[in-house]
């Protein structure tokens, strides 16, 4: 089984703070990490390989620094890695990003299974996986927590808030994963040493046959018009009192006057 995992380098958004003066994101000093859902996707890929044989490749699109998360995936046990990098790919929305990724999949493939995270924690759209499946014209299952081989198909457990679906999907397919019970494995020292020596393939605009009008800003139907930090409103009315009982009484009176209770 030939398996590909798409991994994205993201800022650790749990470390992001807002500058109280300029009201903008402070990104300096925020560590770059492998998108957490993608680490789960690498884990699912390695387990699938253990169950069905084959190879695990990883691919990332991003600046040259994104190399480090590819090395992380190799250290976890992936067999080979490729970096898609070119200034002309910058500014792509999800339609253009998924198009470029689909061109790389055609170039590097064919693959039986392509794994993605359910969403990247920076862009947060969750659209790249399904759009890539559409560009490739293949099946998809999203929000998957468990995956196993099932003859010439795959069986996947798909998560909803109130239910799980157990699905069978024809291959090739794109699978997007949530954080399942199988946590991403830790790398071994042997794995890290091997990964550090391993060569990572580079795919730039010259190496990748893409149509220029479908990439970057030109190829992106959505445009970010403006960004802002979430607004905070409201004049808080301080409900005070000598005791908790007084405060409670004052609150009830205020809410009752406002016809809330």
């Amino acid at each position: 089984m030939k398996i590909l995992v798409c991994v994205k380098q993201v800022p650790d958004t749990t470390e992001i703070k807002i500058d109280p003066v300029t009201n903008t994101l402070i990104r300096t000093g925020v560590p770059s990490i492998m998108n957490p859902f993608d680490a789960y996707a690498v884990e699912q890929a390695l387990r699938l390989k253990e169950a069905a044989g084959g190879t695990v490749s990883v691919v990332s699109m991003g600046p040259p620094q994104a190399m480090s998360i590819l090395t992380d995936a190799l250290a976890m046990g992936a067999d080979e890695a490729h970096l898609i990098t070119d200034r002309r790919f910058g500014g792509s929305d999800t339609l253009a990003t998924s198009y470029i990724l689909s061109c790389a999949v055609r170039q590097l493939g064919p693959f039986d299974v392509i794994l993605c995270g359910k969403q990247a924690i920076d862009g947060d759209t969750g659209q790249v996986g399904p759009e890539m499946a559409e560009h490739l014209g293949i099946a998809q299952v999203t929000y998957v927590s468990q995956l196993r081989p099932d003859g010439d198909r795959l069986e996947a457990v798909r998560e909803h808030p109130d239910r799980q679906e157990i699905l069978s999907v024809a291959l090739p397919a794109v699978i997007t994963v949530v954080k399942g019970e199988e946590r991403p494995r830790f790398e071994t020292i042997r794995g890290r040493l091997k990964a550090n020596r391993q060569e990572i393939g580079i795919l730039d605009r010259e190496a990748l046959p893409v149509e220029d009008e479908k990439i970057g800003l030109t190829g992106s139907p959505t445009k970010v018009k403006r960004t802002f930090t979430p607004e905070r409103h409201a004049e808080c009315v301080w409900v005070e009192g000598e005791s908790a009982k007084d405060q409670a009484k004052a609150l009830c009176q205020a809410l009752s006057r406002a016809h809330v209770i």
């Binding site: 339609l95 969750g126 659209q127 293949i138 929000y143 808030p161 699905l167 905070r232 009982k245 209770i261």
Partner: protein, 332 residues
């Protein structure tokens, strides 16, 4: 592309087990707000093996028209069938705007529809408007884990499509009945590449905090699960339910279905009472649209007070019981 050839606001209506999901009805309200500016017709689209009863459930929620598509291959949801059918409808009727609920299924097939149409899709929106300069829909959504909001336009392609988070708009009946247009479609069985083998429902009836009128929420300041019954009592007195911050959920004090925020539910009840919740940006993302917010916290600098209408600085273990007493006295 000539935008004038694309007219009409569409709302996709999702359903499970014979019931329309509330988010579809909420989006009809959003659609009416857009319609008030653009003057376009508002259409609800429902796809199922048999849509008869579903169309009935939608009728009074403000659509001008319901496109009810019966397709025998749609006994259950599948990416392939729903993508193809919505894509075909859009090609036939060319609406300008399509709204889809940002549920697991909505976020599964909307990207495929958008990609097949080679148009833009804005994800998981929490506010909609019309851009004054261009007349395009201005889609506003959180990114970077709720730390940043972005307003996005799709100016050069049609339709413009967005998934919209449940709980952002209020479902509202308006009386006038929509005209129902019935359509029958058929798809080749082999075009559907997934098959649901089994459905496993989670234990108990699903708890839907998004529909509550009053929510009393507890955070890390509650100290332990043994203190939640106090919130339950207060909630019941007010005809509401108990919510929680992620810290409380992650500590195992309460089930995750109660979580409010970026990775939980978005809620906008009439009254939200936050007890021992600091007001992290990810929590505010899920509740700052509530009509009235009361915050009880011992730290006067807690960010929750920035969104609160009423702030009580003090020990919640004294204030909450006092509130219960007071309300009981009022109701007696």
């Amino acid at each position: 592309m000539n935008k004038d050839n694309h007219q009409g606001i569409w709302v996709y209506i999702e359903h499970t087990a014979g019931h329309v999901q509330r988010v579809g009805l909420e989006l009809l309200h959003a659609g009416r707000e857009l319609k008030a500016v653009t003057g376009e017709e508002l259409t609800a689209v429902v796809i199922a093996d048999q849509t008869g009863d579903l169309a009935e459930q939608i009728k009074s929620y403000g659509a001008d028209r319901i496109l009810a598509v019966d397709c025998p291959q749609c006994k259950e949801y599948s990416t392939d069938a729903y993508t193809q059918l919505l894509y075909d409808l859009i090609c036939e009727y060319h609406p300008s705007t399509v709204l889809v609920g940002a549920t697991e299924n909505g976020r599964d097939f909307a990207p495929r529809v958008a990609c097949r149409l080679k148009t833009g899709l804005t994800a998981d929106c929490t506010a909609l408007g019309i851009d004054e300069e261009t007349g395009d829909v201005a889609w506003t959504r959180p990114a970077f884990g709720g730390n940043l909001m972005a307003t996005i336009l799709c100016s050069n392609t049609r339709p413009q499509i967005g998934t919209v988070r449940p709980g952002v708009f209020r479902a509202e009946q308006v009386g006038t009945a929509a005209q129902v247009v019935r359509l029958e479609k058929n798809l080749p069985e082999q075009s559907i590449r997934t098959r649901i083998k089994e459905l496993v429902h989670r234990e108990g009836t699903p708890f839907r905090i998004g529909e509550a009128d009053v929510i009393v929420s507890g955070g890390r300041g509650m100290k332990g699960p043994e203190n939640f019954p106090m919130l339950q009592e207060l909630a019941e007195l007010l005809g509401g339910v108990v919510g929680a911050s992620r810290a409380a959920v992650d500590s195992g004090w309460i089930d995750s279905s109660h979580q409010v925020g970026q990775t939980g539910s978005t809620v906008r009840p009439r009254l939200y009472i936050a007890c021992g919740i600091s007001g992290a940006i990810q929590h505010l993302a899920g509740m700052s649209g509530s009509d009235q917010i009361v915050a009880i916290n011992q730290d006067p600098d807690a960010p929750i007070f920035k969104v609160a209408h009423y702030g009580l600085v003090g020990n919640l273990f004294e204030i909450v019981p006092a509130l219960i007493q007071e309300i009981k006295a009022m109701q007696a």
